[in-house]
């Protein structure tokens, strides 16, 4: 069984981005970039399925600029077998990414596509579900457990208030939540091995996909600032302030 794992290069989760003073966007020049953390969990899950003998090949895919090659090399260092970069300098929105991934899925014919539930830059939480719709596949989002058995997968999902278990017919889409697994550390020998693995490069036009953005960003602004309050000396003062000043208890 073949698995596709789309991965996105994003601003590292430890970086606090700044809004540009002309309100045209956020300043991401010279900041540390990493693989989207939920995508790392997706790669790890695919590798674990391979180690368990359920999966024969893992193909990592990234859509974006030439620098996304680094992210694909990381995916291959975790354990993906080969990679495909859909290279473009155009700002890609989730619908465009889903269309690019569909075109690749049509060629590669995987049984499972595992994606992160959300990228931590645009916080859209759309691509997996959109891809499932375009392929007419079932979806199991926010997975905290994935069990593949025969032509089905049983997925435990994180939902409001607890967990839900659903069964999906393969081929299917799975998106990862935080507790699905803890990605392994990438070792130096594996980084070296990843450099020798195949990384193909295609362009959106090769796949016949129009990636023009649909949403226009008119401006990007800072969120309203919350000013720091006061440090109170003791619990008695705190309760007094909550009762008589904030009037919340």
């Amino acid at each position: 069984m073949k698995v596709l794992v789309p991965v996105k290069r994003v601003v590292d989760y430890n970086v606090k981005v700044r809004v540009k003073s002309d309100q045209s966007g956020v300043d991401i020049a010279n900041v540390k970039m990493s693989m989207n953390p939920f995508d790392e969990i997706a790669v790890e899950e695919a590798v674990r399925l391979k180690e368990a003998g359920k999966v024969s090949e893992i193909v990592a895919i990234s859509c974006g600029t030439a620098q996304s090659q680094e992210t694909l090399r990381t995916a291959m260092a975790i354990g993906a077998d080969r990679a495909i970069l859909v290279e473009t300098d155009i700002e890609l929105q989730p619908l465009a990414v889903a269309k690019l991934l569909k075109a690749i899925a049509d060629k590669e014919q995987p049984q499972l596509i595992i994606l992160g539930k959300q990228a931590i830059d645009d916080d859209a939480n759309q691509t997996g579900q959109m891809l499932a719709a375009l392929l007419d596949w079932p979806q199991a989002t926010y997975a905290s457990k994935v069990e593949v058995e025969g032509d089905k997968a049983q997925i435990t999902r994180e939902v409001d208030g607890g967990l839900e278990v659903i069964s999906v017919k393969l081929p299917a889409i799975v998106t990862t939540d935080l507790r699905l697994n803890e990605p392994r550390y990438v070792t130096l020998p594996n980084i070296m091995k990843a450099k020798k693995k195949t990384l193909d490069n295609v362009k959106p036009a090769d796949l016949g996909v129009d990636v023009a953005p649909r949403l226009k960003t008119l401006k990007v602004s800072e969120p309203p600032k919350r000013s720091a309050g006061i440090i109170v000396p003791d619990v008695g003062t705190l309760v007094d302030k909550l009762k008589n000043e904030a009037k919340v208890i």
Partner: protein, 309 residues
């Protein structure tokens, strides 16, 4: 111009976030219709008909809608889509799961987690964990939108809409519901609670988290946690407040042993009053707290419980 709200419900009543989504829909400028896709969901449809601002409730009945499977609910919404200029759902696990399927099938962009309706085609939404707010304009024929509940008032009672049955789409046959494990708790739901008591890595263990329970009980509060506490396995994932968890905006948010990572602040900084208890005076949580106490939480929390009487 008419907006369709995909209601989140349990077949009997509407989930809280649906009321906020209806408010966002009324701000899109036209009439508001509500879709109840469910199984024996007549009571939920009646509840929706009584919400102010709702002109019509569409009820799609069938066992295939009983458990909210995305494939079936999205297909039902798509069957009605041609009549609408806006399709909205709450930005909850339920709505976020369904709506992108609708958008992709309509070949339109989705606008996620809007916090403001600027005009019928322009919206504000946070990104980068709430560190930036984008004003985005959609040129698509249909605007497909998820709504951050905390950014909109809940729609009030007082409506008298008609309930109309619509023909239900067939089961997709591609996915099936197996089981649900929802923690039963006497405490209010985290997303809509008036008071939230949250713990972080500072609690140190699953066992120690229990010291927050009497505090939450005393305040009638929901319990939450930072991602660090969830990652450490102290509490379940659905307690997580933050960019990758739930966004809350209660009247009172008490952060105990939480340092205040960017991703956590993104989930609670719109709370009306924030209290922080932390032993590190330099912790970033104090930069957003109205009232801070620097000290050992294991001494302060019991004192606070006692002081509250």
């Amino acid at each position: 111009m008419t907006a369709l709200v995909i209601a989140e419900h349990d077949n009997v009543s509407l989930k809280g976030s649906t009321f906020n989504t209806i408010t966002a829909a009324t701000q899109c400028g036209g009439e508001v219709h509500v879709l109840i896709a469910g199984h024996n969901a007549g009571a939920a449809a009646q509840a929706a008909a009584k919400v102010a601002g709702v002109a019509k409730v569409l009820l799609a009945e069938g066992a295939q809608f009983a458990d909210g499977l995305a494939e079936n609910i999205a297909a039902q919404a798509l069957s009605l889509a041609p009549s609408y200029s806006h399709i909205l759902a709450p930005a909850t696990a339920y709505g976020k799961n369904i709506l992108p399927r609708v958008a992709a099938k309509l070949d339109v962009a989705q606008i996620s987690e809007i916090t403001k309706v600027v005009s019928p085609d322009t919206f504000e939404r946070p990104f980068y964990a709430g560190n930036a707010i984008a004003t985005v304009q959609s040129a698509d024929a249909v605007k497909v939108i998820t709504v951050r509940a905390t950014a909109f008032e809940a729609a009030a009672a007082g409506g008298s809409a008609t309930v109309e049955s619509v023909s239900a789409v067939a089961d997709s046959g591609k996915s099936s519901f197996v089981s649900r494990h929802i923690a039963t708790s006497a405490r209010p739901e985290l997303a809509g609670a008036k008071v939230v008591v949250s713990g972080g890595r500072g609690l140190g263990s699953e066992e120690n988290f229990k010291i927050l329970e009497p505090l939450a009980d005393k305040l009638g509060a929901a319990m939450g946690a930072s991602r660090a506490a969830v990652d450490a396995g102290f509490v379940p994932n659905d307690w997580q407040v933050g960019q990758t968890g739930k966004v809350v905006a209660p009247d009172l948010y008490i952060a105990v042993g939480i340092s205040g990572a960017i991703q956590h602040l993104a989930g609670m900084k719109d709370s009306k009053t924030i209290v922080a208890i932390n032993k590190d005076a330099e912790a970033p949580i104090f930069s957003v707290a109205d009232y801070g106490i620097v000290g050992d939480l294991f001494e302060i929390v019991p004192q606070l419980i006692k002081e509250l009487g």
